[in-house]
């Protein structure tokens, strides 16, 4: 796969031909199989795809929760998987993660102030107990909670409030880049909007860069500047958010977008769905050539034999140029 970041200008993060294969018995599950992208400082890159497409694995490799099987990730020019000691610790501070399930990602036996301050302690960001507490209070207020919440346990909060705690914890170490993996999927719609607006506000205030991973295409469109679509461990399309939704090129992107139910009855009654049949093939033994060809409504014979090239068809609009549509 060819490199795809246009010029590398202003890119805070560069991913080059990233691979992550998990050993399953004697075989390898190719969760991520050759992904290249770059994220500019201050932007939000959305990553969408269905369960099992590898989007979560990408996020986890980026923040060093996994070692990649191939390729590299450069954060501000530095290979994140080759750093050690103090440098690695600094990277951990600059790159943070927000998880999907706020219940599972907060230690039920710690009070909120200790959860939020864990990073502050590890990185020695507070000089005294008072300073530590001040920081915690400030962070809680930043995410829309109050000082009084500091001594409570996670179970005393609602789902939306817990996710705010997760955001406060990520912010505590003053990161530059945050991977948000399905941060609003577990929340009710009215609460979803609260957390989304909080994240956009924080981005403006603190010049944060986000990788926003979600299966919800409406949420991703709303929050992202650019969106990448993944299928079976690979990127099939990447473009500006509005461009991708208005002018999708890859048959998978088109099918995916046409499947999203829109809360508009007239629109729904008139729209035509591109139905894709069948289920996701196994990532242990993915189809040859274009990986989507086994479910593609417009599949052509040729697609089985050539690996579709990653091509920039319009400025900033990249797609896996499968012979079925080029």
């Amino acid at each position: 796969m060819t490199e795809q970041s246009s010029n590398g200008n202003g890119a805070i993060l560069e991913v080059k031909d990233l691979k992550k294969h998990f050993k399953v018995g004697r075989a390898y599950l190719k969760a991520v199989d050759g992904i290249s992208l770059s994220i500019k400082k201050g932007e939000t890159l959305g990553l969408v795809g269905e369960s099992g497409c590898g989007k979560t694995t990408v996020g986890r490799v980026l923040v060093r929760l996994y070692q990649p099987s191939g390729g590299e990730v450069l954060f501000a020019g530095e290979d994140v998987h080759r750093t050690e000691g103090e440098e690695a610790k600094l990277l951990n501070r600059k790159m943070q993660m927000i998880f999907q399930d706020p219940q599972a990602s907060l230690n039920p036996r710690m009070v909120v102030s200790d959860i939020v301050a864990e990073g502050i302690d590890i990185h020695g960001l507070a000089g005294s107990r008072e300073e530590r507490l001040d920081r915690v209070h400030e962070l809680l207020e930043t995410v829309g909670l109050s000082k009084e919440h500091a001594n409570r346990f996670p179970h005393e909060f609602s789902g939306g409030q817990r996710q705010r705690i997760g955001v406060a914890r990520a912010l505590a170490v003053e990161p530059e880049f945050i991977v948000a993996d399905e941060p609003v999927s577990a929340l009710d719609v009215s609460i979803q909007a609260q957390v989304i607006n909080l994240m956009t506000q924080l981005q403006k205030d603190r010049d944060l860069t986000y990788l926003f991973i979600s299966h919800d295409l409406s949420v991703v469109k709303y929050i992202s500047d650019r969106v990448g679509v993944m299928y079976l461990g690979q990127l099939v399309e990447l473009a500006d958010s509005d461009e991708l939704y208005a002018n999708p090129l890859h048959p998978y992107t088109r099918a995916l977008l046409s499947a999203v139910p829109v809360p508009d009855p007239d629109y729904e009654s008139e729209r035509e769905r591109i139905v894709i049949t069948g289920d996701l093939p196994s990532p242990i033994n993915p189809p040859s050539g274009c990986r989507f060809r086994t479910r593609c409504p417009q599949a052509v014979e040729e697609a089985a034999h050539v690996d579709p090239p990653w091509r920039e068809v319009e400025p900033g609009h990249w797609v896996e140029a499968c012979p079925c549509f080029t």
Partner: protein
């Protein structure tokens, strides 16, 4: 009972007794289900939509469920008054239910075929051979390829979408008059969701089943439902046809819901307006309108008395004090209704 209706729920009140006191999950819910229609009950977690559905099936945990009042009329009978034996003749053959997670309704140790034939033999008195043949037909009907082989497999050998098809096949095996689908596609990916929704629509046309669809996803509602009932804190706050409710919603909670969801069709400059705060604690529900504490248009009366329903058309009703003649005139946010 009105002849157009297959089911009438009147003033249903359901509570649960817990260590923290009595949780008033459903507080006087009234609605009808018409023959052949799809009624969507929407609301957030804790709004009482699932409890309402399970009350119809009488599937709420017996030990701590308290039915405080109301009736559920199905034909000549009030389902709340039936004994467990009589309910067994209704559950399955007359009213069937599909749940969010197909794995919770399938027996992992039993071949899929047997799980379908079970109800055919019990309720329709089919012979083993007849039932097996019908099981294969049903799997075909719900779009499972190689049905002859698939009946001999176990649930774990099916993908999530295929499992939900199996569950639907089981639910439809006896051609029930009512199908209750509780978040049937929430656990599925969008492309699979689209397949399952298409399937439900097709089957409804073929069999003529009336459907109660419980969901929090307004997109799903817009694509399959005829009518909608919006629930909040154990009450129906607005009900109407899907078009009326989406394009001309009449109360601030419905406005809030519609303004807080991102639209894939809108451009990114459309702001999301979140609903501030969170839903009330149902062990001590507020007097008056339960949405009052989060409502930007709240008036003094809202926190003391629950409003009467105001009727806007044959189907469209909403409970809100803003429709009182003495209330100020309030416009919904621009994101709602006319924002197409």
């Amino acid at each position: 009972m009105n002849d157009d209706n297959i089911l009438e729920v009147r003033d249903l009140q359901v509570s649960f007794s817990t260590y923290a006191g009595e949780i008033q999950a459903v507080r006087s819910v009234t609605f009808d289900l018409r023959r052949g229609e799809t009624l969507a009950i929407v609301g957030e977690s804790g709004s009482g939509k699932s409890v309402t559905a399970k009350s119809i099936m009488r599937l709420n945990p017996e030990a701590n469920t308290i039915v405080r009042g109301g009736e559920i009329l199905f034909g000549q009978e009030d389902l709340l008054k039936l004994g467990e034996k009589q309910m067994q003749d209704i559950r399955g053959p007359k009213i069937a239910m599909v749940f969010q997670d197909p794995m919770t309704s399938l027996d992992p140790t039993m071949k899929v075929g047997r799980q379908i034939t079970e109800s055919l033999k019990k309720h329709l008195g089919m012979s083993g051979r007849e039932a097996s043949r019908r099981a294969v037909e049903l799997l075909r009907l719900v779009g499972i390829p190689n049905a002859e082989q698939r009946v001999k497999q176990y649930p774990h050998q099916f993908s999530g979408g295929m499992r939900q098809r199996v569950v639907i096949a089981i639910a439809l095996a006896c051609e029930p008059q009512i199908l209750i689908a509780d978040e049937p596609t929430t656990a599925l990916d969008v492309t699979i969701q689209a397949q399952i929704l298409d399937l439900l629509r097709e089957l409804q046309e073929k069999i003529g089943t009336s459907v109660i669809l419980i969901t929090h996803d307004l997109g799903v509602v817009a694509s399959v439902a005829d009518r909608i009932a919006v629930m909040y804190a154990g009450k129906i706050v607005e009900t109407g046809t899907v078009r009326e409710t989406f394009y001309d919603p009449q109360m601030p909670y419905t406005w809030g819901l519609l303004a807080s969801i991102p639209l894939p069709t809108a451009d990114r400059s459309r702001d999301l307006i979140p609903i501030p705060g969170s839903p009330p604690d149902m062990s001590d529900p507020p007097e008056g309108c339960p949405f009052a504490a989060r409502c930007p248009y709240v008036m003094r009366i809202c926190s003391t008395e629950f409003p009467e329903y105001t009727t806007f058309s044959a189907e469209h009703k909403a409970a809100c004090w803003l429709h009182h003649p003495m209330a100020p005139n309030v416009e919904p946010p621009a994101q709602v209704g006319g924002a197409r």
